[in-house]
Amino acid sequence: MSANGPVLDVRDLRVWYGSTRGAVRAVDGVSIQIRAGEVLGLVGESGCGKSTLGRGVMGLLPDGSAVDGQVLFQDTDLLKVSDRQLRRMRGPDIALIFQEPMTRLNPLMRIEDHFSETITAHEPKLSKAEVRRRSLEALGGMGIPPTRFRNYPHEFSGGMRQRIMIALALVLRPKLVIADEPTTALDVLVEAQILSILADLKRNFDTALLLITHNLGIVAEACDRVAVMYAGRIAEEGDARTVFSQPAHPYTRELLRSVISLNTTGLHYIPGAPPSLIDPPAACKFHPRCPDAMRVCAQLAPVEQRLSAGQRVECWLHGPGDRIPEGGREPLEQERIAVAEEA
């Protein structure tokens, strides 16, 4: 791995789930990279494949799923290593933070034991005192006092449990952290605390972070880059400020417009819902909902383009012009979408 190469390099990842109605193509050819000390936000409506992508990277897909492509973690392809090796890497190399903390903490185990178990599993030779020192340091970083170290999970509030989960995921200083909606169940104040903790993390330890969320406000505050996912693919990806101030993909633009913020004066939304990933629309999968759809959009899948502002985008509005057939730029006749066609 070159010194400043990406920690995570996902190449053309595909994930299918088996279902009675056919294969669900939840991730359908995704490439992303994250460098050390970088936070990549992953946004999109529910059902677009964000969690599947996160789990696919971690090798945590359920039975009955299939995966293809490359997930290079510091040049090792995680899709090729054994389950045992992957388990060994979870913790010291990569860690996943889930949305609901209670389901991941053992209710019968003291907080202290969660930590010592995690640490000794990967570093069995450490002295007890050193295990304790590291645990307390991780908890302290999350604002959990040492006096609560011997408490059980249910003796903490939801926000504290989530911080304990984060402390546990980070105690081995993983190089890559994947956080799947880590603050969705929390209040603004606790959420803000956790975001500032994640910001400290990347500053102090150079952790690479994939932050999955549907809160675009969080992305704007906490992420360096953002990838917008729609129907299993990355519609647009680039510097978070650039993408948010000059969205290039119509889906990004419409998603941003539908956020209700303190500056909202009128409601806006995208008609319809993300498609079924068993038989999604042909060509550009966003074309039935896209206000800018052209004839070409229903005929040919858009090609990835890199814009001068830096982001990459898959949308015919940005060319390449020579691939658009004659008449392809004419507006597309779309079917009316009923109001209640929604997620």
Partner: protein
């Protein structure tokens, strides 16, 4: 508060849930305390108005909403709906009242019976209130209301089960059921917070449309300030069972006065990239409503707290723990070893003894002095009147605390000592020497 235009008037409402103590404690009739979920709340809602109830998890919003429908029995205060005393109603009258007040809950998935078709679920109120039992009549009315909430054409939805619908569609069905009897008041408890960002706007738009068509009045419960700002005429900010600030929406958002309101507003992540992460967030979390902080309930987290705000022993314990959490293990062990058992600090009270491990109170007093020097900006020092060494430990006297009450400030009402001319004029207590 006898307001002619008021549809709903709530006065000094209190809902306390008794804590389930041990069997032994109940046997001897020992008072085990209560969760003070709603603790003395007053407001009124004018006909056609949207009142927002905003606060963090556990602040008592849902309990307040449920009390308005008598889904939970208040332990004190009064509720008047169209002038009628809701708490004095008998069982049969409560049922009639619920035709006029409906509630929509946060989780659309849990609000609909999975075994009932949409037709049965939405038509349910017609049956239980004895409006009609005629199948054709019910179908017609249900179809009309489904059409109104956007579940159109209704024929496609009548026979469906909740599991066939998306989250947003379920919430539409729940709204249809809530308005089928033309209520005058709708209590909406976080109606959009479980929904995807892109669906929220659609449901809010539907709710605004229903309000105009059906002359509804809303109590809109949420922890999301952005939707409250857009949706409400007035907002009440709740913290630990009390209203800390209430007023016209524009006023509250343009001039937030209560330190809690100010913190909430600062904490919202904004998609506008020109904002950055706020640095001065209130620490900690909402305390236990069974043993709320003394004085102002926000004081342990308040960045502006001063002498009369209710400082107490528990704050001292929290301050020590916080110091040890961030200070590292060596500091923790060094300082902890000098002190005795700190469990005594967990009782509410404005006088406390910090026990010494060595037996001399001087050590403790010296330690506390050093801690104060390390971080004299810590708010608690404003509330400590004296530290006196005694055999066995140091006795701490706190400044007497006061409970802030809502008082008019500018165009709003605020419960905070900073706006009390009598208390705020007290020069800030210098930290004791």
């Amino acid at each position: 508060m006898a307001d002619a235009g008021a549809l709903l008037e709530v006065e000094d409402l209190q809902v306390h849930f008794p804590l389930r103590g041990s069997f032994g404690a109940r046997l001897v009739g020992k008072d085990v305390g209560a969760v003070q979920a709603v603790d003395g709340i007053s407001f009124s809602v004018a006909r056609g108005e949207v009142l927002g109830i905003v606060g963090e998890s556990g602040s008592g919003k849902t309990t307040l909403g449920r009390a308005l429908l008598r889904l939970v029995d208040p332990t004190g205060g009064s509720i008047r709906l169209e002038g009628e005393d809701v708490l004095g109603l008998r069982e049969r009258e409560v049922r009639a009242m619920r035709r006029k007040v409906q509630m929509v809950f946060q989780d659309p998935h849990a609000s609909l019976n999975p075994a009932m078709t949409i037709e049965t679920a939405v038509g349910h109120p017609l049956r239980i209130h004895g409006v009609t039992r005629d199948r054709a009549d019910i179908r017609n009315r249900v179809s009309a209301v489904l059409e109104r909430v956007g579940l159109s054409p209704p024929d496609q939805y009548l026979g469906k089960y909740p599991s066939d619908l998306s989250g947003g569609q379920k919430q539409r069905a729940v709204l249809a059921r809530a308005v089928i009897l033309s209520p005058s008041l709708l209590v909406a408890d976080e109606p959009v917070s479980m929904l995807d960002m892109s669906v929220r706007a659609k449901i809010l738009e539907l709710m605004l449309g229903l309000k105009n068509d059906l002359d509804l009045t809303y109590v809109y419960i949420t922890h999301d300030l952005a939707t409250a700002k857009f949706f409400c005429d007035r907002v009440a900010i709740m913290y630990l069972g009390r209203i800390v600030e209430i007023g016209a929406t524009e006023e509250i958002f343009a001039n937030p006065r209560h330190p809690y309101t100010q913190s909430l507003l600062r904490a919202i992540p904004d998609p506008d990239p020109s904002r950055s992460i706020p640095r001065d967030l209130p620490r900690g979390e909402v305390p236990d409503a069974a043993e709320p902080p003394l004085g102002c309930r926000f004081h342990p987290r308040c960045p502006k707290a001063f002498a009369p705000c209710g400082w107490e022993a528990r704050d001292l314990h929290d301050m020590l723990e916080q110091r040890w959490a961030v200070g590292g293990q060596e500091l923790f062990e060094a300082e902890r070893l000098q002190l005795g058992d700190l469990a005594g600090l967990d009782q509410p009270g404005s006088r406390a003894t910090v026990p010494s491990a060595t037996g001399t109170g001087d050590d403790v007093a010296t330690l506390l002095d050093r801690i104060r020097e390390d971080d004299s900006r810590e708010r608690i020092w404003h509330g400590i009147e004296s530290i006196t060494p005694r055999p066995g430990g140091a006795v701490i006297e706190f400044h007497p605390g006061h409970d802030p009450v809502l008082r008019p400030v500018g165009g709003a009402e605020v419960a905070c000592h900073l706006y009390d001319p009598e208390l705020a004029e007290v020069p800030e207590q210098a930290p004791p020497a």
